[in-house]
Subunit: 412 residues, 2 copies
């Protein structure tokens, strides 16, 4: 595999407030054409340090991608330093200057003089047009090295790289194709997933398998390489099928969809509808369901019944039941689900009652205790959970289990 | 100011899935004792490259902090490479080994042999204890350099750095004190804020001022340095007061609180209550209000009335009004706010109706058109918005304006 490195330039990236997210996107794209990222450097608007970093990079990597530092101010040092290190003078391109001037005039401003800098191009560099901003990028072939200078703003950088750089780099890697497939899993922890599927994936060197956990779900990333798309897809398909067979209904998505998308799609296709009654999740299930465009087809209403009185008034839960069983109980969860289904006329009523904390727990009913209720025409069920973590995590996990409970209905 | 650099070690940090978040936290802490971060490098489990990076770092920085690569496997190269570059042999510490062995036994596992590696310490390094994991860190004084090796997992790294490293580094910077204060602003864009306050803050070299926008709010970061806490606080206070005076009611927080915290605190203090009626925000306002621990004191109920029928059934909005004015209208927003206030008995009813998109817009009512309603005992008002961005952004901005509208009630 070809090796590359990424240099992110800008003092704002060395503060506690900014992380370099450009490089994640670039890594994904470089990997997809068979180029490995071996190093990332984040350097401020600091000529001496950038010069040293660039010299090192030229020693060890075949492809060098920089982002940022191409603006019009004194702080924007990329052009100057790359010119010096690569020993290529900066040459003013009149046509680029005319473009920049035109852009300012069309916005009704005169062009400040320092913008002229953005029309300076390293000798023999290929100009990368920037229809979304003023600073053009550059692509340089220097013996066996490829050096790419991109602007910092993602909305300028991404299309420029994808349209004007990636096709060139793809040729460089002799048509090596790399593809990823992501399986998303619910209802199991990271290590349980690994224990179950390691005996299968460890037999494969290609694809490689990585198991990740984000706050939403466990993800299994398969990465395959080969000389044709068809070959790569076949490799992914073979391992993916084996893993899906092993994991069964726990795999909820194989094309990157979120849980709420998967649930929404099924409800829409079946012409089913849903309504929610939430206590400790405070509207999070409704928010997630309605995150999806077109959710008005299946989402009828959501009730956030935070107080006991609201559960009685809005959902028709009996005050005696709350008194007898407690507001955090299987019986109240089921009564809430029945109540919201009846009230809304939806196919499914889903409910949550629980203790998100940090206060309010007792030895019998500790923080993290959550009941999910689900009511349909044929049955009413509940699920009891004891969830770990802080308030935010308990709420998020509870909303995830609730959505997953709906999803698992259609597997029956 | 002293200069430092951070080296994050681990091949997983060179994938598209992981960003180095440790370094943001470390930057904040280093800045707080007057140490600047001048460079960050992310390197894989790659001895040659790490060696080169470390040698460069020793040339140019006074403080070098590494994270990661201290585990028990072959991939964990930090110990080996640092030993070689610093020319300090690795020495087995029997007491650390005994600790690690004990940790495994107490968990009921025998210790795998490769864990012995974690008891290897560079000659004359100070051992940094790791009560939350197996790998100890190291602190090395090498002529005028300080080299700190920390484990990668944040829950091990952070307390180790804060308790065992930071006090040492603070001495190094001769007691220089650096503090930050953050003002959060609503109801104005980043450039409007800058235009208003630049004439004030540009007169100050200390504190320095940075204006940031995240999806939640505009933030004004003031950073001051001095030789005593008192002096630094006085510097922050002086500029902060001037900016607050200029920005007036647009400043909603001066101690890091979120908008929902500020609103919640006011409602709780006044013993007021609130209820929500949401259409396009789908429960997001309720979710944000109930994110705050103790919100059950003031949050009574939330209704997500996504369909027109739900607005009629649950909120008592008249079908004729919806027919006449359209469901996205000032009149319906106000009727929703009145409806939920009446239904719940809350002090305030707040409502949202709008078009979050991407579909459903018309020339008269384009995507992004949102009406917020607010009903109290004394008046009913609404606010019309035309919001930019995609579905997620429109929903988020609408929920923010709704919360801010409640906040601004108490300024009257």
């Amino acid at each position: 595999m070809l090796t590359s490195e990424i240099i992110a330039i800008g003092s704002e990236l060395l503060t506690p407030f900014h992380t370099d997210t450009n490089s994640l996107w670039l890594t994904e794209k470089l990997n997809s054409v068979g180029i490995d990222v071996k190093l990332k450097t984040i350097v401020g608007d600091d000529e001496a340090r950038l010069e040293e970093v660039l010299k090192d990079a030229l020693q060890r990597s075949q492809v060098i991608i920089s982002t940022g530092g191409l603006g019009p101010t004194e702080d924007d040092i990329t052009r100057k330093v790359f010119s010096r290190v690569l020993k290529r003078p900066l040459i003013l391109h009149e046509d680029i200057l005319a473009n920049i001037r035109h852009l300012f005039e069309s916005r009704g401003f005169p062009m400040a003089l320092n913008n002229e800098r953005q029309a300076l191009i390293l000798q023999n560099a290929q100009v990368l047009n920037n229809p979304r901003g003023t600073a053009p990028g550059m692509f340089i072939i220097d013996s066996d090295k490829r050096i790419v200078m991109l602007p910092g703003p993602p909305r300028e950088m991404k299309p420029m790289f994808e349209e004007q750089v990636l096709p060139n780099l793809q040729k460089l890697s002799h048509g090596l194709r790399v593809k990823r497939k992501v399986l998303k899993v619910s209802g199991m922890g990271e290590s349980a997933v690994d224990a179950l599927i390691a005996p299968i994936y460890s037999k494969y060197k290609n694809p490689t398998t990585t198991i990740l956990f984000n706050r939403t779900e466990v993800q299994i990333h398969l990465t395959a390489s080969g000389s044709t798309d068809k070959e790569v897809e076949r490799l992914l398909e073979e391992l993916s099928n084996k893993l899906e067979e092993k994991l069964g209904a726990n795999v909820f998505s194989v094309q990157g969809e979120s849980l709420e998308e998967i649930v929404g799609r099924w409800l829409a296709v079946k012409q089913f509808t849903i309504a929610t009654a939430e206590s400790c999740t405070g509207g999070l299930i409704a928010t997630r369901l309605t995150d999806i465009a077109g959710s008005s087809r299946y989402f009828l209403q959501g009730l956030v019944t935070y107080s006991s009185q609201a559960k009685i008034d809005l959902l028709g839960v009996s005050a005696d039941l709350i008194e007898e069983k407690g507001v955090v109980s299987a019986e109240v969860a089921e009564a809430m689900a029945i109540g919201v289904k009846k009230k809304s006329g939806a196919t499914f009523g889903v409910s949550v009652t629980g203790l998100a904390g940090p206060d309010g727990g007792t030895p019998e009913k500790p923080v993290g205790l959550v009941y999910i209720g689900l009511a349909s025409d044929v049955e009413v069920t509940h699920k009891k959970l004891q969830l770990p973590g802080d308030r935010e995590r308990v709420r998020w996990l509870a909303s995830t289990v609730a959505l997953d409970l709906v999803r698992r209905r259609y597997l029956l």
